[in-house]
């Protein structure tokens, strides 16, 4: 016997009528997504981390999240890699901005500032174990996750990172390899730590930050600072391609006239990215594909459905994760 399904008590959600096409187009679905390379990197790395970072720890969304306070707190932890990277960017951008004003900070000043910042983080972290509460103060030291999670080797690991940071700053200041960047970055038309917010013929927003960009003889150069070694991605870097999209969109230049490079301070190498219209086309498509994935997860995230975000359960990733305290799967792996 036939009967109408609509008479049932609880019709399934997201009902799509037979023969009707879902009226929300793929373009509409991603139009509210703000894509950034870091967001896609977190999504690729661990979905549970992605939930905590973009939903669970976000005050404006996932309001039903029972552990919101703890997640928000953990979100403010930084591991040694992230923090030293942040300091490197701060120091270089300050150097370039001051140089633009005609004030040249020397290597000693930059190095001691960087060391001071990180040393304060370490001292603060050591003294805050077990009683840390994040503050909203602008220049307060960071709580390092290595100390928060009481890694017995936290200090030596952090000191090693500090040495790497110092070496990178010294290298930036002294290595002739980077003289062009020091010089051109100090000129009036350069962009230092410039925010990107564009829709490069994509329905979604593309968000990010360019470390350094300058124009010379109608050729645009974009530089991305990396504290570590080469990652081997080179010509396949979506991050650099996104910078290319920004340059085409904002600086109205041709793809072929853009030079994009990654500076790897640890290996003292500059890796160039071959920018052309074809690769930018691919980058656009890749960004939209990422945005579609993000849009797919959006409903689950907003509804605080944490179970829909599969934890990665990979020791190497879990050990570095700020959300270890709340992720049972991560704990299971890390302390196994």
């Amino acid at each position: 016997m036939s009967h109408q399904l609509s008479f049932f008590d609880s019709p399934p959600a997201n009902e799509v009528q037979e023969g009707n096409v879902d009226q929300t187009t793929r373009a509409e679905r991603i139009s509210k997504i703000s894509w950034s390379y870091s967001r896609r990197a977190v999504m690729e790395k661990c979905l549970r981390n992605y939930y905590y970072e973009y939903y669970g720890g976000n005050k404006r969304t996932a309001t039903q999240e029972a552990n919101k306070q703890l997640i928000s707190q953990l979100k403010q932890l930084k591991n040694r890699y992230a923090r030293t990277g942040e300091i490197l960017h701060l120091v270089i951008s300050t150097y370039l901005r001051k140089a633009k004003q005609g004030i040249i900070w020397d290597e000693n000043r930059l190095v001691s500032w960087a060391k001071d910042l990180f040393s304060k983080d370490i001292s603060f972290s050591q003294s805050s174990i077990g009683n840390w509460k994040p503050t909203n103060e602008k220049y307060s030291p960071s709580m390092l996750s290595e100390f928060y999670y009481q890694d017995p080797t936290a200090l030596s690991k952090c000191l090693f990172s500090q040495d790497r940071l110092v070496a990178a700053i010294a290298s930036f200041m002294n290595d002739p390899l980077y003289s062009e960047f020091r010089q051109k970055g100090s000129q009036g038309n350069s962009t230092i730590e410039g925010f990107i917010k564009i829709r490069p013929h994509t329905p979604c927003l593309v968000d990010g930050r360019v470390d350094l960009a300058y124009i010379e003889d109608s050729k645009v150069t974009i530089v991305d600072w990396k504290l570590g070694n080469e990652d081997g991605i080179g010509d396949d870097s979506l991050q650099l391609a996104a910078y290319g999209l920004w340059a085409v969109e904002s600086l109205k230049c041709r793809a072929e006239s853009i030079r994009i490079c990654k500076v790897h301070f640890s290996s003292q190498k500059i890796v160039n990215f071959e920018c052309n219209s074809q690769v930018l086309h691919l980058a656009r498509a890749r960004i939209m594909q990422d945005a579609e994935r993000m849009a797919f997860l959006e409903g689950y995230g907003k509804n605080a459905c944490v179970e829909a975000f599969t934890p990665c359960k990979q020791t190497a990733i879990c050990q570095q994760c700020s959300f270890l305290a709340i992720c049972d799967d991560s704990k299971e792996i890390t302390y196994a």
């Binding site: 109408q4 019709p11 009528q17 037979e18 373009a27 991605i233 396949d236 979506l238 829909a308 599969t310």
Partner: protein, 768 residues
């Protein structure tokens, strides 16, 4: 007489194996590391070992005698294996552990023996072995015979060793030839082009390579050629916490026997589980040419008839000798295993309903001629009576978008011929409209101007993201994609004919046939996109419906499809729907249970509002149910029952269908003169109460190759595995894309498979 490619280990069910328990210790032990320890014990000490099924960090080694302590280490791991000093344990086929573990131990013992006594080599999987020399070389491609080894427990019979054979292709020349910086500019371009063709770089493929470091062969992926870079000029390398001035120094320090010079060219490749590319000696790297990328002239080379396969395997067993498992077993049966009559089944082809209430009856007898007639009739009845069901509101105009570089002639001929073919199939007037374009965006814009949504046959140009762009920018459109090169190839056949094998004359008739075959296939794809049902079966064995769940090969998408086939007194009598969704946790094999539940329930909401609840459902997991998937499925079923899509007392069974089974089992019929042929489609063997193997293809529509069976595993969720097999066979009868030829997969599985391939083809992989 039905025969398999399985040989039973003597003495059948009386086989037993002595094992020693050993403890594995080391930092951060994982399941992979435990497996790795078993692999190293096999390759270094020629002993079969498996992970203990119940005790963590423990392995079982096939030996009666105490094992000496073993220390193993790799790049970022180390472990120790120590004998537990407990008495040796006897595993038999009478207990669960024995049934589960002895097949693995036997397989590994065989692999250990082969490693010591033959020149066969392996690449990544120890189960896949290649002959040392190619069987032939053509077009710069070398074909190697390969053997794949598996094992299986057969109830009341014993442990069977399964060996299959095939062909694998590699480039004849190493990468040093393709990227030789000494060759002149023209030659360099030619060689590079050939290389790119072999690895299909233009299709966004990474390019699979094989690297031979002198000790073992490993799979790796092409990164960049680095012209001019030699083993001495790679710069410093840091490997295993050691620094080397160059690749040359690294080789000399770690692998002094490898034949390289300072000026040997180097290239950059990436390896699995290594985060950055590495330089390697280019003359130690070759291209792994995938079978689907072979040039047309070599397309059939990997097809081996059952008789040839059988003979090759007989020879192979001969080489392995009388005791191929060494001390583990007294020997192996000299004949391939032939199942008893009560294990063999043969499903008849069900009757098929075509347009205007015409029925194609079940063949009257199980014979090749009767089955040949049946398949010929499928195609003829489809043309004569039209499709079983054509939506009344089917769109009558389809667009044919083509790049201007294709030329109007080819596009026009395709559109006109296609319209005529569609008319024959649907019995409705069909017209085509051409849309020429320079780039995809322009085509999309034109199509949007012409219609809100519709049907487009999209001849895609070489723009790398063309397919994705078209799908993304044309929501609501039904898109049949064809590559420009495919149209060009077939149009050339039509215009110039097909050259015979000696390349001396062309046959216009063959050319015309190929073109019309191409148009017919395209038309059959188009009608499926238009929700036309070409023909149907009455029922799916004892089930009204089948739900299929599948994950794409790169785990970036998963798909679900639902096939309903029941008498028309119920609504709907027949329906097939499918849906593909992102699988964002692509590192995981399992589908997230919450998402699986949501997608299954969402699929059902696409059914008509007027709907009779399903009274029986077979759920087919293409592959294996993994981790929490059954939870997601159970929750979905609860919801579907609550919402009335499935009746409360419905019969619900679950099975796993392994279409790419690791057990590589083959079936063939051997006649009185010992010649092997494919069995008739629908033939199978019930291996036990939980497992059947069956062929959906076979005689008479598979003349050249050996039928590739599917394995159906019930795992306690299906009350009769033969019912599930019958549903699979019935589902496979809807071979809508090629009515003359039997289809290997159930139509629901084919649908999910194609959907997943289509989504995968749209993915941009290069950038990350």
């Amino acid at each position: 007489m039905l025969e398999t490619n399985i040989r039973i280990i003597q003495p059948g069910m009386n086989l037993y194996v002595w094992v020693r328990q050993a403890t594995v210790t080391g930092p951060n032990l994982t399941t992979e590391l435990i497996e790795k320890s078993c692999g190293v014990i096999r390759s270094r000490y020629h002993l079969a070992a498996v992970a203990h099924p119940k005790m963590p960090n423990t392995i079982l080694i096939a030996s009666y005698h105490q094992i000496n302590p073993v220390h193993l280490d790799g790049e970022d791991w180390e472990l120790d294996v120590t004998d537990s000093l407990k008495p040796s344990e006897k595993l038999t086929l009478l207990d669960e552990d024995g049934m589960r573990l002895i097949p693995k131990l036997a397989e590994r013992a065989l692999l250990a023996q082969i490693a010591t006594s033959s020149s066969l080599w392996t690449m990544d999987s120890p189960r896949i072995l290649y002959e040392a020399k190619p069987i032939f070389i053509e077009n710069g491609i070398a074909a190697y015979r390969r053997y794949e080894i598996g094992s299986i427990f057969i109830k009341n019979v014993g442990i069977g060793i399964v060996i299959d054979t095939g062909v694998a292709f590699f480039s004849k020349e190493s990468l040093a030839y393709y990227f030789d910086s000494k060759s002149d500019a023209t030659e360099r371009v030619l060689r590079e082009r050939k290389f790119m063709q072999l690895i299909r770089r233009q299709d966004g493929q990474k390019g699979t390579l094989i690297y031979d470091n002198g000790r073992k062969k490993t799979k790796c992926y092409f990164v960049s050629p680095s012209y001019g870079m030699t083993c001495a000029t790679t710069g410093t390398l840091r490997i295993k916490n050691q620094s080397y001035d160059s690749l040359f120094d690294y080789y000399k320090a770690t692998n002094p026997n490898i034949l390289i010079e300072k000026d040997t060219p180097a290239i950059r490749v990436s390896f699995q589980n290594m985060d950055r590319p590495q330089p390697v000696a280019a003359d130690h790297v070759w291209v792994r040419v995938m079978n689907e990328y072979l040039p047309n002239s070599m397309r059939d080379i990997d097809k081996i008839t059952p008789n040839d396969k059988r003979n090759i395997l007989i020879n192979f067993w001969g080489i392995l000798g009388p005791k191929p498992l060494g001390q583990m077993a007294p020997g192996i049966e000299k004949q391939f295993w032939r199942p008893s009559k009560d294990q063999i089944f043969q499903f008849p082809i069900p009757k098929l309903d075509f347009g205007a209430d015409n029925v194609l009856a079940t063949p009257k007898e199980f014979s090749n001629p009767a089955y040949s007639d049946h398949f010929r009739n499928r195609s003829q009845m489809l043309r004569k009576f039209g499709c079983y069901q054509v939506p009344p509101n089917i769109c009558r105009t389809f667009y044919c978008a083509y790049p201007k570089t294709l030329g109007e002639d080819a596009a026009k001929t395709l559109a006109v011929d296609l319209a005529s073919e569609l008319q024959k199939l649907t019995k409705k007037p069909m017209v085509s409209q051409l849309v020429s374009y320079d780039n995809i965006s322009e085509a999309i814009e034109q199509l949007r101007d012409l219609d809100q949504n519709g049907m487009v046959v999209f001849v895609l140009n070489e723009e790398p993201s063309a397919y994705y762009e078209a799908e993304f920018q044309l929501p609501g459109w039904r898109i049949k994609r064809i590559n420009k090169s495919t149209v060009e190839e077939h149009f050339l056949y039509l215009q110039s004919g097909v050259k015979d094998k000696s390349n001396k004359s062309s046959s216009m008739e063959t050319g015309r046939r190929r073109w019309s075959g191409f148009v017919s296939m395209t038309a059959l794809d188009v009608i499926q996109l238009l929700d036309v049902t070409p023909y149907r079966v009455d029922s799916l064995g004892p089930y009204e419906s089948n739900l299929i769940i599948d994950v794409g090969h790169d785990r970036r998408f998963f798909a679900v499809s639902l096939l309903i086939s029941r008498p028309n007194i119920k609504t709907p009598g027949f329906r097939i729907i499918s849906h593909t969704q992102h699988k964002v946790d692509h590192k995981e094999e399992a589908i997230n249970p919450v998402i699986l539940m949501d997608e299954i329930t969402a699929l059902f909401t696409r059914l008509p509002k007027k709907f009779d609840p399903l009274t029986s459902l077979l759920i087919i997991r293409d592959g294996k149910f993994v981790k929490q998937e059954p939870d997601g499925l159970n929750n979905a079923l609860l919801k579907l029952k609550a919402t009335g899509y499935i009746s409360q007392d419905a019969r619900i069974d679950w099975v796993e269908v392994r279409k790419d089974t690791q057990k590589v089992i083959r079936l063939w019929d051997v006649n009185e003169t010992s010649i092997a042929h494919n069995p008739l489609m629908g033939t199978g063997i019930k291996l036990d109460d939980e497992m059947v193997i069956m062929v959906n293809t076979g005689a008479p529509t598979l003349p050249q190759a050996t039928a590739d069976p599917i394995l159906i595993v019930a795992n306690g969720h299906c009350c009769n595995v033969l019912d599930a097999a019958q549903a699979n066979f019935s589902g496979a009868q809807m071979n809508w894309s090629s009515p003359r030829v039997a289809q290997r997969l159930h139509i629901g599985m084919k649908r999910t498979d194609e959907d997943l391939k289509s989504r995968s083809a749209q993915e941009v992989r290069r950038l990350r």
